[in-house]
Every structure is written in structure tokens, then in C-alpha cells.
């Protein structure tokens, strides 16, 4: 089943990208199949643009629906 929904992830490592990413912060991950098969995630970072980062730098944020909705609307 193809994922088309944006997911929320938490940054756990920002090595080399201290201006672009903040540890412990929640970011939006945009579906990108070509990136995913290479161990990369497409992330909207602090610049406001989306870039490919190593998936190892993030963990999925499993949030209740109401919390997820609030976080997405807060963007």
C-alpha cells in the first residue's frame, strides 16, 4: 500500500546540519518512494524547503490523531 500522507518525525541527530535541523523537534516528512528505498527521508527543514536526509536521523512520531492534527495545523 503506497503511503501518500505526510508523516511526522522527530529529529534525533542533526550532525552536520545544526542550522537546518534541531534535535528533539518534530518535522514533516513528505512521501518520496525513490528516496525511501535509498534510506532517505524528504523533510521540510528549518529553511521551510524540503530536502533529503538520512532516515537514521529521525524516528517516527506516533501521536494520537488529535495531537497530530494540532501539530499539522500549527505549521
Amino acid at each position: 500500500m503506497a503511503k501518500t500522507r505526510r508523516t511526522l518525525v522527530i529529529c534525533v541527530s542533526n550532525d552536520g546540519y545544526v542550522a537546518s535541523l534541531e534535535r528533539r523537534k518534530i518535522y514533516e516528512s513528505i512521501p518520496d518512494a525513490a528516496a525511501a528505498k535509498r534510506g532517505l527521508l524528504r523533510i521540510v527543514d528549518e529553511s521551510g524547503e524540503d530536502y533529503l536526509y538520512s532516515a537514521e536521523m529521525f524516528v517516527e512520531a506516533s501521536l494520537p490523531t488529535s495531537v497530530r492534527r494540532a501539530v499539522m495545523e500549527a505549521a
Partner: protein, 79 residues
């Protein structure tokens, strides 16, 4: 995450000064300078050993150099 393994071509500035949304973070972590966001194209090798052509973005300032080279998109292989 990846290594740039070719010369960067087509380099151009795409944002600078107040046009940089994350300018305050650049100053905080790398110092006060005339920061520019630049883009270009190069071959990169990923951690899995695969080599691809990619569009890259990075921040740069005179006297500081390039910071935070990021992959904007992977380009399809030329046939």
C-alpha cells in the same frame, strides 16, 4: 549520508540576506557573515554505495566556505 564525488556544476545563488528564512540560525551556529543559499549539480555517492546525479543546495559565505550541503532532489539516470 553522502559524498560529493564530482565537480559541482551550474552553481548559482538562490537566496541571500533577508531572503534566507533560516538566516538567524546560520548566524547563531556559524557566525555573522553575508550568507547566501546556493544550488548546483553534482554526482554523489550515498552510504549504500550508489552513485547518482543530484541537485544540491548549501549555504556559503566569503571567508567561511560551504556549510550544510543538502540533497534537494535525485536526478534520473541519463540513458
Amino acid at each position: 549520508m553522502f559524498k560529493v564525488v564530482s565537480e559541482i556544476t551550474g552553481a548559482e545563488s538562490i537566496a541571500q540576506g533577508r531572503g534566507l528564512r533560516d538566516r538567524a540560525r546560520l548566524v547563531k551556529f556559524y557566525g555573522r557573515a553575508k550568507w547566501r543559499k546556493r544550488r548546483g549539480f553534482a554526482d554523489i555517492t550515498l552510504d549504500n554505495g550508489e552513485t547518482l546525479r543530484a541537485e544540491l543546495h548549501w549555504y556559503e559565505a566569503t571567508g567561511v566556505g560551504k556549510k550544510e550541503m543538502k540533497i534537494k532532489r535525485l536526478l534520473p539516470e541519463r540513458k
